[in-house]
Amino acid sequence: MHLLPEDQSPWIPNRQAGVMSLLRPLLLDVVPTIQQTAALALGRLANYNDDLAEAVVKGDILPQLVYSLAEQNRFYKKAAAFVLRAVGKHSPQLAQAIVDCGALDTLVICLEDFDPGVKEAAAWALGYIARHNAELSQAVVDAGAVPLLVLCIQEPEVALKRIAASALSDISKHSPELAQTVVDAGAIAHLAQMILNPDAKLKRQILSALSQIAKHSVDLAEMVVEAEIFPVVLTCLKDKDEYVKKNASTLIREIAKHTPELSQLIVNAGGAAAVIDCIGSCKGNIRLPGIMMLGYVAAHSENLAMAVIISKGVPQLSLCLSEEPEDHIKAAAAWALGQIGRHTPEHARAVAVTNTLPVLLSLYMSTESSEDLQVKSKKAIKSILQKCTYLPALEPFLYDAPPNILKHVVGQFSKVLPHDSKARRLFVTSGGLKKVQEIKAEPGSLLQEYINSINNCYPEEIVRYYSPGYSETLLQRVDSYQPLAN
């Protein structure tokens, strides 16, 4: 019985009532092959649809399966574990039903079996059950699955390693206590060893497991780092498989986000450059963890932000910002650029030089961007502008910025212009002074103060020359002028 095709779904509910009651007695048949085949059939039915899985549960089949799981041969065990996995993967309620009928202990016993296929099926079922929420994970851990899964990881079969790593990843992702349990079983050393394995799918699961462990707290992240994954993890960033790259950058991000010392460690190991290259070589959602990692590293301190800048991160990030179609990736890139540029004028200059500020402004002003993107780009613009003294980048802002940003821009000009004569000249020749005169501000507001301080840098004639309406006043003077009588 192969998987039922999708277009036959209208008549499945009618079928299922009959099928379950037919299959159930077959599970108790004398011939072992029939038992195995019946179990396999149930598994495939439950795998397809969660209504069918519910029917399997309601048909009271699970206790029989669990009971005979302990005694039968390995084919039956594989088929029964397949049924449990197929039922447990759909929703937490179904998984809870599996736990309630005592399947966990039997599955854990299956994990100790000699046959790697049985172990794989049992580990897969446990992984799917633990995936849903923390209580189910805790139930799986309480059944004593974790040490056996760690043993499974050390087995030579690649498929078994994959499944065991995925199960550990699903267990440890819910809470720090669960992750601590996994770490206490000694999983990190084995996971770290297997990063060098050439199989791509195995690497995906291993990196995912390590990142789920490291994300909860500083201690766990430090333990992961102590397993000497750097600089080996950086080679995973160059892998052919996209998801290996994604999971590797997720792992680095989860480590970097906790403390400045961990970020420093990563930067010292050359991680920043590797991540930047990785961002350059992929597209879409794969880039997102790498972009966030750069943002976290730069957010910790200005030295780290400078390190990101000299690793040539800013051109890459601005490229991401302009060419990615999706809003959430753009928002992440905008946030990261804001974190880099907000520390000191040198940082802001490094960001402004790459011409990202107009892009950020257009994202903020565009009506098509999502709210999150608008908020993040506004914050980034504000934080960069407050430190930016690179005037050629600020000038375009005078023309198209909205008033709340214009205030900051004019403020920056008013800070820089009094001290730099060349900048003053450039400001005049580029038409900035003219634009500043045209800005209308309420007297007494901060904007007016800034405008006044700019006007004070220049002689009165120039200010008058550029103030709006000067030509009219001149013409009026012409009108009212009496030529000298000769």
Partner: protein, 424 residues
């Protein structure tokens, strides 16, 4: 008053009285006439004092004067009144003048007194003020001195602190050169990592390419082995060795190198049941252990009718080669068929045979042509072959079974250890 009494003074007094009296005669003052005389009398009557004769003479003179004066007393009265009335005219004026003079004088006197007081007060105040100011001045000086010292100390302290703070910031809090060094080191590490990763990626690519090439090679090799028959012979040039070409196609060389492919014999599947082959094969290693060391090459032949040691060892360690009769069970074919049927039953969704879609419309029954059919049923000439099954003619529904297996005659031919029957 009664102390040392001086007669000279007393006489002077008497003379002054007399002159006064004379003056009084001129001026007409009356009232005090008797006073000196009384005094005199009182003095004369002083007890216990003897008066000296000059004094008595003077006293007599005085008495005479006194008598004279008493005689003129009446005229004095008149004269007195007259002189008073004459004088009265100028009295007011002279009084005023006297008052003015007196007032002016009094005024001058008072002013002088006040001036004197002023001067005194000024001196006192001057001294007092100078004392106070000197004290104050000392305080001010002390304060100024103290301030000056403190300023100096502050200045020095500021210098020290400036130096120390600069040093501390530059060395411990923000070491600019260390930062530059660190950033340079980071750049270097980044470049090194980038190079290493590039190398790694290149290596991976090379490996993949190599693996792909090897796969290609293997595929071509396999093809060459399959197409070995296309090799050119002496008589007939093969396809790839056309006489019109300058040099033969590379496939020709490949065909030459390839070994002709013979189809694989079906491998004997490992049975789950414990079979003869596996048991003996696995026991042979344990029960008849082979030594690691091979026997020496130039071992001398043992004397006697012994066989060659190599042959003996070969025979000794020969693995079991059961005959076909033992190796395969008697109903192996039947079991295989059952196995296949079971497998299919597990696997198939539908037990009906899957007919191709093209035969859906082929459910028409074949109507034979008139020529090949007669009224007694279809002619068996064109449509029934002698190999067709005719279930109606069968005597029983089951197939024939091989009861006795074939026996093998020549399976051990040439493989027996004994040399019986061999043609020498």
């Amino acid at each position: 008053m009664i102390g040392t009494f001086s007669y000279a003074k007393f006489l002077k007094f008497l003379y002054s009285v007399a002159e006064a009296e004379r003056g009084w005669e001129k001026s007409g003052v009356n009232g005090k006439l008797t006073a000196p005389l009384d005094w005199l009398y009182g003095l004369v009557r002083l007890p216990g004092r003897r008066i000296v004769t000059p004094v008595v003479n003077q006293m007599r003179e005085a008495m005479a004067t006194l008598a004279r004066l008493q005689a003129r007393s009446k005229a004095v009265g008149q004269q007195y009144y007259f002189r008073n009335s004459v004088v009265d005219v100028f009295r007011k004026k002279e009084n005023d003048a006297a008052v003015k003079i007196q007032s002016w004088f009094r005024g001058c006197r008072v002013r002088a007194y006040i001036r004197h007081l002023h001067r005194a007060a000024i001196i006192v105040q001057k001294w007092w003020r100078s004392y106070l100011s000197r004290q104050h001045y000392q305080l001010v000086v002390k304060l100024a001195y103290y301030t000056m010292k403190m300023n100096l100390y502050n200045e020095m302290a500021v210098r020290i602190q400036r130096r120390w703070r600069g040093y501390k910031i530059r060395k411990y809090c923000f070491d600019y050169f260390y930062l530059k060094e660190y950033l340079r080191a980071v750049t270097e590490t980044n470049d090194a990592i980038r190079d290493a990763l590039e190398e790694f990626a290149e290596m991976k690519e090379r490996e993949e390419k190599k693996a792909a090439l090897e796969r290609e090679e293997k595929k071509r090799d396999y093809q060459a082995r399959k197409m070995h028959y296309l090799l050119s012979t002496k008589q007939i040039p093969g396809i790839y060795n056309s006489p019109f070409r300058k040099d033969p196609d590379p496939w020709e060389l490949r065909l030459q190198k390839a070994k002709p492919l013979t189809h694989q014999r079906p491998r004997v599947k490992q049975k789950h049941s414990i079979s003869l082959t596996s048991w003996l094969a696995c026991t042979s290693n344990r029960s008849f252990p082979r030594s690691e060391i091979l026997p020496p090459i130039n071992r001398k032949q043992c004397q006697g009718p012994f066989r060659d040691i190599a042959e003996v060892l070969e025979q000794r360690y020969k693995p079991l080669e059961p005959t076909l009769r033992e190796a395969e069970p008697i109903n192996e074919l039947k079991e295989a068929r059952e196995d296949l049927r079971r497998q299919e039953w597990i696997r198939n969704v539908n037990d009906n045979m899957f007919l191709p879609f093209s035969s859906y419309h082929k459910n028409e029954k074949y109507v034979p042509s008139m020529h090949s059919s007669s009224k007694y049923g279809p002619n068996s000439y064109g449509c029934q072959r002698f190999r067709d099954e005719n279930p109606k003619k069968w005597i029983c529904p089951k197939d024939f079974q091989t009861v006795l297996p074939s026996f093998d005659l020549f399976s051990k031919y040439g493989k027996l250890y004994s040399k019986a029957g061999q043609i020498v």
